[in-house]
Amino acid sequence: MAVVRVEDLHKRYQADGPEAVAGIDFEVREGEIFGLLGPNGAGKTTTIGTITTRVRPTSGRVLVDGVDVGEDPVSAKLRIASVPQLSNLDRALTALENLTFHASYFGAPRRERRERARELLGRFGLGGRENDHVNNYSGGMAQRLMIARALMHQPRLLILDEPTTGLDPQSRLFLWDTMVDLRERGTTLILTTHDMIEADRLCDRIAIIDGGKIIALDTPTRLRRLLPAEHGVEVTVAANADPSPAFTAVSGTERTEARPAGDGRWRVRLYGEDDGRNSGLPEQALSAAQSGGLELIELKRLEGSLEDVFVHLTGRELRGADGARVSGRWS
């Protein structure tokens, strides 16, 4: 069953301005992590704004759990929770009070909200800091507290806008684990990101958004299949000169590329389909390196990344895309 259904969504902030969202349709299924991936300005935040009732669509509609968000925003708000990019914690309150008052807005009885708040604070590693004012919280702690707060009213759908932007690596990993854990507990998640690794690692399905439109929507694996075949292995060896002659004997390669990697190392890419029969590409590459007397530093399988998928679909780099080229295209 679809927890969210977005139908032919359009949003124009100014009557004569460009469309921030130019006709988007998608469904988010119960219990999945759904990713909205795209560069800044692609329309991700606008799209989730329409789901959280904060953005009124120019046309089209959004259903949350069967409730039309535009017609009955109060019922929609009961079902959703949102974690924004930047902290919007209540700075007049302590961490514990942030959670308990949030739950009170949703009608939770006093005892229940205290118990649930303590449990969530513990789960998010904030036990012992519950009476601190949130001003004293670090970015990572604030992020965790916002997620804890969002879970206080047990929403069907949790929306996270760029949840790991600006977090240190440790907090980022913690957050990833948290999201997977939430999915296992039955919460449906939508997250926006421009981080390919994050999308790849977490999401069950991903909608790639660019210029206010969905240009691809599928599982990460299937999205990668959109790439033209670029399979093979990459071998890094210690060598003073181009080591590619050592790899000519490897069978099944269509093309070989060698580049110096600095520090007396070379990176050799052997492109070809590895069908797993006979001796595969990795094994052959390994033995070729050994028989060529080359010290092996690293061996890895080449697999298209979501980044490659984005470049393939749009002809632009994802990270560089938020700059002049995008605004130039739209204005």
């Binding site: 902030y13 009124r56 109060v74 708000k77 924004p84 914690l89 007049a92 009170s104 807005y105 009608g107």
Partner: protein, 274 residues
């Protein structure tokens, strides 16, 4: 009753209404908690420091050095009370809104609470009005301490005092809603100076409206200022001095409440929903 059983929708509507009322009450609960537990000192300082000095300088120092008539303090009291009531309610709506919409984004958690966006605005006004009423009432014991010979009030006429406090503070809260949502955050300090200074000095706080008849143009001008109606209303409730007629006071406050309330709610919704 049978209709309820047949369709179930009135029951759903009732349940939704209850959810919204509970959410509204919970938002008020949060604000009262913060007022009492976390911000009592700063709230009192913000609300009362100015009137304390006004009462002291105008009600005590000036008469004692002969720069004002003895008893000017008693004349001044309703005005200072009105000024405190209005400024507290106005600032307690406007300032938090500016900060919450622009910097802390705290408003977002309220906007996602299960109640209509307009109700969030009304709740802000209500709490600010309550703070205004509290500050206004505290003027009485303060004046009793500061003014020479304590306070000499005539009455009070509760039937006038209560509605003036009630509608005056709400109207001021509504003005704060307009100010807090209409002014961009980088201009707020300018806006406060530009709005508050004329508001303070044209609101019949330091002089009764009737006594302005020799300065007719100014007397008419003060009628634009909602504070005039609160000052004159409290003058009517607490003194036997001549004052603006009751009907005009009621009309002035009603117009202020309706105009600023409607405008402020519209502006608030525009800020809250893109």
């Amino acid at each position: 009753m049978s209709a309820v059983g047949a369709t179930g929708s009135p029951r759903v509507a009732q349940a939704t209404r209850n959810i919204q009322i509970r959410a509204f009450a919970a938002l008020c609960g949060r604000d009262l908690w913060v007022t009492v537990r976390h911000e009592l000192g700063s709230f009192l300082a913000q609300a009362l420091l100015q009137p304390i000095f006004l009462l002291f300088v105008f009600g005590r120092v000036l008469p004692e050095i002969g720069a004002a008539r003895p008893g000017y303090g008693t004349q001044l009291l309703p005005g200072v009370m009105a000024l405190t009531l209005v400024l507290t309610a106005l600032q307690n709506t406007a300032l938090p809104l500016v900060i919450e919409f622009s910097f802390t984004k705290e408003i977002e958690d309220r906007l996602l609470a299960p109640l209509p966006v307009a109700a969030v605005a009304l709740q802000k006004i209500l709490i600010a009005a309550l703070r205004g009423v509290l500050a206004g009432l505290l003027i009485l014991p303060l004046a009793a301490l500061i003014l020479p010979g304590g306070i000499h009030i005539h009455g009070p006429d509760w039937a006038v005092l209560i509605p003036i406090f009630f509608f005056g503070s709400l109207a001021a809260g509504a003005m704060g809603l307009v100010l807090g949502t209409a002014v961009p955050p980088n201009r707020i300090s300018v806006a406060f100076a530009v709005v508050l200074t004329p508001l303070i000095f044209t609101g019949c706080t330091f002089y009764p409206w009737i006594s302005l008849h020799q300065l007719r143009w100014f007397q008419v001008f003060t009628l634009i200022n909602p504070l005039t109606y609160v000052s004159e209303g409290l003058r009517a409730a607490l003194t036997n001095l001549p004052h603006l007629a009751g009907g005009w006071i009621a009309l002035g406050l009603t117009v202020a409440l309706v105009v600023f309330g409607t405008l402020g709610t519209r502006l608030f919704i525009r800020r809250a929903v893109d």
